[in-house]
Every structure is written in C-alpha cells, then in structure tokens.
C-alpha cells in the first residue's frame, strides 16, 4: 500500500484486520496528511493526535492478542464538532462553548470507539450547524478542496472537506436541513442522512431536535453503509430513537454495486424539475438519472405539491426549537462568561455573554424562533408550520406508493465563492431547497457524486421511506457503477 490515505475505509479495515498495515501506520498517515493540507483546507478545529495514536495502538494490540476485529477497526474518522466527545473540546464552532470539554461521550461516539475506530479530531462547521457554507464558523472558514476559494458547503463543511481532501476516509456529520448532503454534493463526496431516529441524537448538541440526524460522510457508498451500521440502532437514552434494528444497509450497498437496478422505480419530483437548479446542476442530475435507467431502473414522475412550502415551514420549526435549545448557553454552568464584574446583575451577564458568544446567523435564528413561539403568534407560525410538515409527510407517503425512491438534485448550485451568499440570508437558505423535505418527513436521504458542472462537483440525492435506508444505499451504490468516480485535486505541493 503506497498511500493509505487514498484507500477506502472498507479496504483499510480489511488491511488492518489482516495485519498488512497497522492501525497506527494508517493513523499516522492521516495525521501527516492533515499536517500537510489542513492549513489550507482548515477542515479541523481540533486534532487529537495523541488520542488517535493511543486508540490505533489499542487496535493493533487487540489484533496481536488474536481478537477478532470489526470491519472498521483501526479506521480513522473525523467528527463534526457538534458531537460531544469526552474530554475532547466540543465547541459547535461557537465562541460561547470555547474550551468546553464534555464529561461524556455521545452514544454514536461510544459505538465508534467500541468498533475500534480512531477519532482524528473535530471538524469545522457553521456555528451550531446553522448555515450552508461553513462561513458562519466562529473559528474561520473551511475551504473546498476542489477550489480553495469556494465554500465546502455547510453546516458540515469541515467533515466533507476532510474526507474530500483525504485527511480522513470517514467522517460524522449531522443533517437538520441538508448539512450532511449539501456539503457532500459540493465536495464530490457521499453524505448520508439516515432515517430520523435511526441514529441516536444523545450527545449531538441540539439545533432542531425534531430534525437533527447524525450520519456518515465518506468517499464511497459502501463506506457510508459500513459506518451507518456502526452508529445506527436503538438507543434507550434517546426517546426519539426507533426501537428497531438497523436496516441491512451494507448488504444493500453490496447488492447495488452489482449495477443492476431492474424493477426499481425512481420517482422524479415534478416540483423539483423546474427552474430551481442551475442549468449545469440540472444537466448533471439528468445524466445521472439516465445512467440509472440504463441499469434497469424505471423513472416515474410524481407530484409532491407541498414541497414548495418546505423551506418556509423549516425556517419556522428549526429556529423555534433552536431558540429553546440554545437557551442553556447562559454563562452559569459552562462556556463563555462575559461581564461578570460583581456589579452587573445575572440578567446582564447572561445577556452580555449571549451577545458576545453567538454569531449573526445564530442570533437571527434565535430571534426568529422566539418570535414564532410567542403568545399570539404560535398558531400562525409554529402551529401552521407543523401542519405543513404533516402535508409534506403525506406527499412523501403518497409518492412512495408509486415509486421505491425519489431522486432530485441535492442542492441547486455548485460550491459558490466565499461571501457570495452571506449578505442575503434567503440566498443562503436556498442551498437546502431540495434537502429540507426529507428532514421534515424524517425519511433517509443520501447525496452521491453525479459528475461535474464547470469543474465543480454536483450531487444526486436519493430519498427513501422511513426505515428503508437500505433501499437508498442500493440505488446509491448502483449509481457509482454508472457514473465515473470523482477524484478531487490532490492539494499536493504548494497550490495554496
């Protein structure tokens, strides 16, 4: 193996399991890669080299003792900084949590550790996962490995960029309105949002509790499925976790990789085929769907009339929940405290801390949500948005009576230059136009590379019914056989 950073997670797991390479070698190679490129990409907020090497050595020791290793044992992984990691800084890319080290691990972290995976560090994101470009990080932007002058998507831009830049074979993202899938699309990687409740939220710092879903980020579909199997499944510590086994996602990915989609019905959402997407994106997605038809799939046009209300409904529900979820950052127990001079009142200290600690997008959403939940406005805003949510769910259910999965662009446009959409929040919000419906419904959705537009990656989104995650992995894996794999620029040398 010449460069283990180019290998897939599945290959790495096999090589480590067979002893052809050690977990420590693999970890060191990735730490070296991070050292080589991350000053340009800035995917990471915190690299835990010491912890990573210790974890890798533990895997090597276990193997030396003859223990049976899991398929991802020793494989490095990057974790979005919104996931609580015991003893390791967890900031949500916010000043308000600077220096906070959680005293506990998220459930998915416990599962990642139990699988023998090696955490490299914590990745950059839009503050509290609010944004579509990672420009709202309080700690500086992450750059798209395909073009360092462009955004890597968001909110999980750090996780997507780390994987695209070969700094990690796998990463964890969280998807509330598209924060796994849209960064996947614009960085040419795979981003999978499992069924809501299929992966535990315990330890995911909440943005919008009824929408937040942790999921895999990878360079290929099988790797995503392998990670999905590690982190998925019922968690008694999350009341919204579904008490059912993980759907057979790995098996489905392997089946899809045979390239046969005979009898699979793809639903083309009529409401998503209009002017929404850039021509280059629409064309690439069309080509990708044509390629799936060649594999035996059938295309059926379906109508989801309420999808056009998804974005406004989302921008009431998510900020409402956020306004409550983010109340706890009040300077009393942890994180930033500003103005505590012994003179000022508690209310003033809370207020000054929140003023200084939260960035503009977070404040915007807290104010929006506070307003939407206020007495006298609740029914018109939050209540109405919940009704829209039900209608969107009904649209999905009706569509899935006709088709197996829905296909659409992941995001209307390719990665845009920094600053292009920060002046008008609505232009930024449009990035999630196609991803939000699945969040409101709760079903799984995945973004896979679908070619290039103007040299920048385009994503194809595949949406499936709740707990039919396996179905979307099968189609996604078949897609890989029909569409040439995207290879991001190596970033080697001094192309900064």
């Amino acid at each position: 193996m010449t460069d283990v950073t180019r290998a897939t997670a599945a290959e790495l797991g096999r090589l480590i399991g067979s002893g052809e390479v050690s977990a420590e070698e693999v970890t060191r190679a990735h730490l070296d890669r991070i050292a080589e490129v991350d000053d340009r990409v800035h995917a990471f907020l915190h690299v835990d080299a010491e912890g990573a090497i210790a974890a890798a050595r533990a895997v090597d020791a276990a193997r030396a003792r003859g223990e049976q290793l899991g398929p991802l044992a020793g494989v490095p992984i990057a974790i979005k900084d919104v996931i609580a990691t015991k003893g390791v800084p967890t900031t949500c890319a916010s000043k308000i949590l600077e220096g906070w080290r959680p005293p506990y691990d998220a459930t998915i972290m416990e599962r990642i550790h139990a699988a023998g995976m090696v955490m490299l560090g914590k990745t950059n994101m839009d503050e509290f996962a609010m944004g579509s470009s990672t420009e709202y990080s309080a700690y500086g932007v992450t750059r798209n490995p395909w073009d360092l002058d462009r955004i890597p998507g968001g909110s999980g831009g750090g996780s997507a960029a780390a994987v695209a830049a070969y700094e990690a074979p796998l990463a964890i993202g969280t998807d509330t309105g598209g924060s796994i899938r849209q960064p996947g699309a614009v960085t040419g990687t795979v981003g999978s949002k499992p069924t809501y409740g299929g992966t535990s939220r315990y330890g995911l710092v909440a943005f919008s509790s009824s929408l937040d879903t942790p999921g895999p980020v990878s360079r290929n579909v099988l790797d995503a499925a392998l990670l999905h199997e590690v982190i998925g499944g019922h968690d008694p510590r999350d009341s919204t976790s579904i008490p059912a086994p993980v759907p057979p996602v790995v098996e489905a990915a392997r089946r899809g990789a045979t390239g046969d989609l005979t009898g699979v019905r793809l639903g083309l959402v009529r409401e998503f085929t209009g002017e929404g997407a850039e021509p280059g994106v629409a064309a690439a997605v069309r080509d990708a769907i044509d390629a799936l038809v060649k594999l035996g799939a059938e295309v059926v046009e379906v109508s989801c009339p309420h999808f056009e209300y998804a974005l406004p409904a989302y921008y009431l529900i998510a900020p409402s929940e956020a306004s409550s979820n983010l109340a706890r950052f009040d300077s009393v127990r942890y994180g930033l405290r500003v103005g505590d001079d012994g003179q000022r009142s508690l209310e003033e200290v809370m207020s000054l801390t929140r003023e200084a600690g939260f960035g503009p997008e977070v404040k915007r959403r807290i104010i929006l949500g506070t307003y939407a939940l206020s007495a006298g406005y609740y029914d018109a805003y939050y209540g109405q948005a919940q009704k829209v949510r039900t209608l969107i769910t009904n649209d999905f259910k009706a569509a899935f009576e006709q088709v197996d999965v829905l296909v659409a662009p992941t995001t209307p446009f390719v990665a845009f230059p920094f600053g292009a959409r920060t002046s008008d929040p609505y232009q930024m919000y449009l990035a999630d136009l196609y991803t939000i419906p699945s969040n409101l419904y709760g079903g799984p959705a995945i973004s896979v590379p679908a070619g290039l537009s103007g040299g920048m990656p385009v994503g194809l989104q595949i949406m499936a019914p709740t707990m039919a995650d396996d179905r979307m992995y099968r189609v996604a894996a078949a897609c890989e056989t029909a569409i040439p794999t995207l290879t991001p620029p190596t970033l080697s040398g001094s192309n900064a």
Partner: protein, 499 residues
C-alpha cells in the same frame, strides 16, 4: 367614611364572598429522577446527584421515567380524574440559573389527568373541590442567594445553585376555583391539602413532607361582593405547612377586605407568606405576564397510556383515606366528633401506627391528642414533627401499664423524649425516673414516715384508715413522687395492721 380593617373572617363574609384555588406541587418519591437515572434522596451534598441530563449539558437528552408517569396516573385516578389517552410534555421557556436548560419540561395544554374532584369534610359538611388538572413536570434546582437582606435575588451579591433537586419528578395538582364556602374557606383550603396529602401518602408515591418541600402549596384567593363577578385573585407562595395554608387564606381574606373596604383595588400579583407573622407581602406583579413560549418538547415522544393499563392501576388503588378512616373509627370505637378532632389534629396515622406498635387505641389517642398536641401547638409544629414517634408513645404506655411509670412520671418522660433525649426507657434511665417499686426501699420510707408521725400512725391503728393519707403524702415526698401511691397506701396499712 371611616373604616376599620376587619379582624375576623366572619366579619369579612358579611360583605364579601371568597373564591379560593390551590396549586399543589408534590415531589414524587421515585428512586430516580424524571428524565435521567440520578438518585432523588433528600439532603445529599450539593451537586452530587447530577449527570449530563439533569445538568442540561449540551447534547444530553431526557427520557421519561415510567414510574413517575404511573404515579401521576394513580394520583389522577385517586382524584377521580380522566386519564389522557395521548398527551405530550411541553417546554416552558424562561431564563433562571436554577433551571439547567433554561426551560422546564412540563405539561401545558395536554395534561396527563383532567377534570376530577376531591370531597373534603369541614365542620360536618362535605365540600367537593373540583380538580382542574394533574400534570407531570421536572423540579428545578435550588438557589441560595447570599448577601441580600431578604434572601432573594435582588440585593444578593452571590448566588449558589444546587442541582440535586433539578429533574426530580414533580406532580402539579390544580383545583378548579372553589366558591361558596364563606367563612369556611380557610378551613376548606387546609382540609383539601390535608386530604390530598393523605391520599398521596396512601398511594405510596411521595412522602409528602411539607417541611422538606416534597409538598408545596400556592394558594389563590379573591373576594367579591355578593352577586358580583369574582374578584381579582392573588397567588400566595411559600405556604409550607397545613396550618399556614389556613392562615394564608385567612390573612389574604382580611387584607383584601381591608383594601376593598377602603375603596382600593386588588392587584393581580404573587404574594409571599411569612410563617412568623402569618401575613403575606407583595412579590412580583403579574401584570406583565411572562411569555413562556410553551411548545411540545421535541425530545420526548408523546405519552399514550394504554387504557387497559390505566384500568389495572385503577383497580389496584388502595382504600381511600376517608374509607380507611371510617374503618379505623369503628375499630377504635370513637364517635364521629372525636374522629374529627383526631383528623383535625393530623393524628390519624400517628394513632394508627401507635396502635400497631401495641398500644390501645384509647391510650394512643390520649397521648397524641393530649400532651403531644399541646406541645405541637405551643411550638407551632405539625403533630408528626413534635419529636415523639408512634413507637415512643407505645413504649411509654407499656411502661405505665407495667407499673414502671405513673401517669405523672410518664408526662415527665415524654418531655424528655420530645426534647430529644432518646426513647422513653432511655429517658427513664438517664433521669432516674422509674417508679420506686423495690419493696425494701419503700418499706424503709414507710417505716420512717410512721416513726416521724406517731400520732397519725396511732389513729390509723385505731381504725381511722382515712388518716393514712398524711403518711402516704410523707412517703411520696420522701421518694420524690417516684412511688406508686396505691402501693404505698397498701404498705402503710399493712405495717399498721389496719389492712
């Protein structure tokens, strides 16, 4: 026109009709907290019974405690409520340092139990108190404000927060407005809280100890002139004993009547009750009501109690305290009037427990309603907190029955018990109070008395038995009252050959 403030509730009701309402919070005695596995024991070192969930650490999530839901449903059933087939927890949003998440998980428009009632007995009348709702929520932490004159946050220089209590399951029981009780309003309020406490205790879901805060009461009071609409109500907080519930209503009735008599208006506000003065003072005004921005908690799945399970719980409810008391009344052979005195004194369970420890119902009743009730009244504590336990009382009576204590000595021993000197036997030993029953010692005292009073002794020998009283008195004096007078008398008569 000159008005003098009314001095009695009877005077108030010549001009006004009171409407009262009660909101009672009961901390459930579940082993673990409402949304996490932390223990709930009272009195632990601050911040030792906490975890990421009850501290509201970023990323943590609540999971509802099934035992708490069951306990709430049982309370609802015991209060004749309908149990929701589907309901949700809601978030009540407000910033306060004793609230780890800066919102409280509570229930809003979808409570677990609704529309019940509780019948209470007051002065021979049955008053039906309507129950609006019974819902489940989490308790907050406890804040200690240091440096201020009032112990409240205003003026304090430092605040200490203990989160041990944060997340303890709390049941809120809200009555419908209770009108038409007139001068009985304060007594109805007390009887309601007493009955509620007894019911909850009989269910075994809480120790309902007001002084430890496991039962807390807010009392709403308003007055209106007959025939007019209900008046503006005040909410009196910090009402921490049964006696205070009664006093708080009385004090608010008097205060409001004085304001109204003087042509003033009642401000809708929170008032604080002061145990020492028995009066209320103004707290925060409720004119600018806080907007709590309630919404269904997305972290928790809806509650949908299976109707069959609810039926099972209903079938398994214990005997209601009223029925139980009637059975006890018959067993103890007391009149309804006497039973009411026992109830009013809060002595039912104490007497029941004392009887269970071996005392006769009469003896148990005599001690609890006599000596101990007097002590409790003097020191202003609940009878149950007077310092003697049912086991103490039973032991005391046993010592009397065995002739080791006279009635008079027993009272002295009880004083020692109440003062915390230990069990009756321990007090007897420590204070050397046992009846002098050693015949040798007693005979010596008798002989001494006879020798010292030869004239009296002669009279007795001559058959004037009544004269022996003087000798008995002398012996009792010599033994400092620790001899049994009857025994002494018999001994004197026998020594003088008059028996």
């Amino acid at each position: 026109m000159t008005t003098t403030a009314p001095s009695t509730v009877e005077e108030v009701i010549t001009r006004y009709e009171p409407v009262i309402g009660l909101e009672t919070h009961v901390e459930l005695g579940t082993r673990t907290k409402m949304f996490c596995g932390c223990p709930t024991e009272f009195g632990a070192e601050p911040n030792t019974q906490v975890c990421p969930v009850c501290l509201g650490l970023p990323g943590s999530l609540p999971v509802a405690n099934k035992a708490a839901i069951e306990a709430t449903i049982r309370i609802g059933l015991a209060l004749n409520c309908s149990i929701a087939t589907w309901c949700r927890f809601a978030r009540k949003n407000y910033f306060y340092p004793d609230m780890p998440k800066d919102y409280q998980i509570s229930q809003y428009d979808e409570p677990l139990c609704v529309d019940g009632y509780l019948d209470v007995e007051v002065e021979g009348q049955t008053v039906r108190v309507g129950i609006e709702r019974v819902h489940l929520e989490e308790d907050t932490g406890k804040t200690l404000h240091i440096g201020g004159a009032t112990g409240r946050i205003h003026g304090a220089t430092e605040s200490l927060v203990d989160y041990n209590r944060a997340g303890i399951p709390l049941v809120e029981i809200v009555t419908k407005p209770v009108a038409g009780t007139g001068a009985l309003a304060p007594a109805v309020a007390r009887a309601y809280v007493t009955e509620l406490r007894d019911i909850i205790r009989s269910l075994g879901v809480s120790d309902v100890r007001m002084e430890q805060g496991s039962l807390r009461c807010d009392v709403n009071t308003s007055l209106n002139r007959p025939g007019e609409e209900w008046g503006t109500r005040t909410e009196t907080k910090n009402v921490n004993s049964l006696r205070s519930v009664e006093r708080a209503v009385r004090s608010e009735m008097l205060r409001q009547a004085a304001v109204l008599d003087a042509g003033g208006k009642i401000t809708q506000e929170t008032r604080h009750f002061h145990e020492d003065t028995g009066e209320t003072t103004s707290g925060r005004s409720k004119e600018t009501a806080t907007d709590y921005r309630y919404f269904p908690d997305p972290d928790l799945v809806p509650l949908a109690p299976d109707p069959a399970w609810v039926e099972e719980l209903k079938a398994a409810l214990p005997e209601p305290p009223r029925v139980h008391r009637e059975r006890l009344r018959e067993q103890w052979g007391v009149s309804e009037h006497d039973m009411q005195s026992i109830i009013n004194a809060g002595a039912v369970e104490l007497i029941e427990a004392t009887v269970a420890e071996g005392a006769s119902p009469d003896a148990a009743r005599k001690w609890w309603l006599g000596e101990l009730a007097r002590r409790a009244n003097e020191t202003g504590v609940e009878l149950a907190e007077v310092g003697a336990t049912p086991a103490h009382v039973a032991e005391l009576q046993r010592l009397v029955d065995e002739g080791k204590l006279t009635d008079k000595l027993a009272r002295t021993v009880l004083e020692g018990v109440v003062a915390g000197e230990g069990s009756p036997s321990e007090v007897v030993a420590a204070r050397g109070l046992e009846v002098v029953s050693d015949t040798g010692a007693l005979t010596a005292a008798v002989d001494e008395a006879i020798a010292a009073n030869p004239d009296v002794a002669q009279k007795v020998r001559d058959g004037k038995v009544a004269a022996a009283g003087a000798l008995v008195g002398a012996v009792m004096k010599a033994t400092k009252g620790q001899a049994d007078a009857k025994t002494v008398r018999e001994l004197i008569l026998s020594r003088l050959g008059a028996a």
